[in-house]
Symmetry: C2
Amino acid sequence: MSDSKSTTQVERGERRVEVCFSPKQFELYKDEFHTCVVIDVLRATSAICTGLANGVEKIIPVPTVEEARVLQKQGCIAAAERNGQIVEGFDLGNSPRSYITDELVGKTVALTTTNGTKAVAMAQDMPQLAIGSINNLDAISTWLMQQPGHVLLLCSGWKDKFNLEDTLCAGAIADRLIDIARFKSTEDSTIAAKHLFLGVRGNIFSFLKASSHRRRLRNLNLGEDIKYCLTPNTVNVVPVLQDGALVDSRKLAEARSVS
Amino acid sequence: MSDSKSTTQVERGERRVEVCFSPKQFELYKDEFHTCVVIDVLRATSAICTGLANGVEKIIPVPTVEEARVLQKQGCIAAAERNGQIVEGFDLGNSPRSYITDELVGKTVALTTTNGTKAVAMAQDMPQLAIGSINNLDAISTWLMQQPGHVLLLCSGWKDKFNLEDTLCAGAIADRLIDIARFKSTEDSTIAAKHLFLGVRGNIFSFLKASSHRRRLRNLNLGEDIKYCLTPNTVNVVPVLQDGALVDSRKLAEARSVS
């Protein structure tokens, strides 16, 4: 029996969308996909979307605090979060609301977080890498429909474990691609993510009250951040990775049309 | 912030039940648990339960076909499955119904399968290892309530990826332990498994029509096997690992009370 689902279950020319629950599983999925969307709803990818939508020029994602310090010494604005808190010696963490400020307009920010930037680093060699969140749900879904090839939705999870908020966001994106643009899926993880999303879509906030990660963040008094991160379509932006930095996909398109 | 959920979110003396979606994630979960339940609904753990319930004396799980061949040469009845089919040179695979035969009564069977026996090998050093399936749902749930310590439900998955049938089975067991015996859970994976199970419990067979693994098995004309594996409580047995072999937990208890 062939082990290749794409050849046995997806017709030639059809596009696939699949959900990978954790960076720990990424190696098992990555080879068949053109575009990888990294999702870390609480809070890295919500912050990245919010920053770029509010005038930040570029966000350089780095996996370690040490790399963020190096860029900070070189004059970059640097942001670092570990275990939900700003790391000592940094001015910014991953609170999306802290990225809405005139001081960051036109600036480049180096960012490292517990889960999200690690997932970005892992997926950086994919042909195309974009950033998804509930905050840019419509924008990322529409943009994906316009791209070529198969789409992998990579949940950043919590320290390599499954988490609900990233899975629900991935389920929401997968549901749109399947429903509106006739993408196919063959993985059980995609079926589960979509099913979980459809079961709670009117009430994501209440459902996530049961989430372990959310409980942790509650201990840090991040209630307002969480409400913001779970609000669909606060921004209309698709961050994409270009030469090691995340930039607004429209600026990339403009630069290409000019050159 | 402490990273230990068990100390921050579960009171002293409370028991936890958690779901691990894949052997690939096992290392992230295992340290806090006393009993590990390996689940491979299609079809290894269903076959193990059925065999022991129908008179097989012992089942020796081995991770590789080579090890099964060695035991076969030593006179063991040996069973080997890869990718859903019996491996050449073996008489038995992992079809549960093939374990219901007078020829196996009182015998020792060496078994290797694509996913299930690999998961057993991975978890063999846990203080206690048992086997779960939909076929022994009541038996395994009741037995777990009588054991000390925290319970980890380890889904064998499909080649290290998430699969639906193992997750639904784990969700069903977790739901009972939480609902009847007041076990606690703190992991999002457990919340998701339970939620998925509760959403489809009246209709697992139909829901799994969408499962990729099930589609694969359908190609191999395994419809009757699948119906059997998805039928709750066909057997009343809890296989437990003792000195490298899976045996009926009641025989173990009898042997202990005699000695």
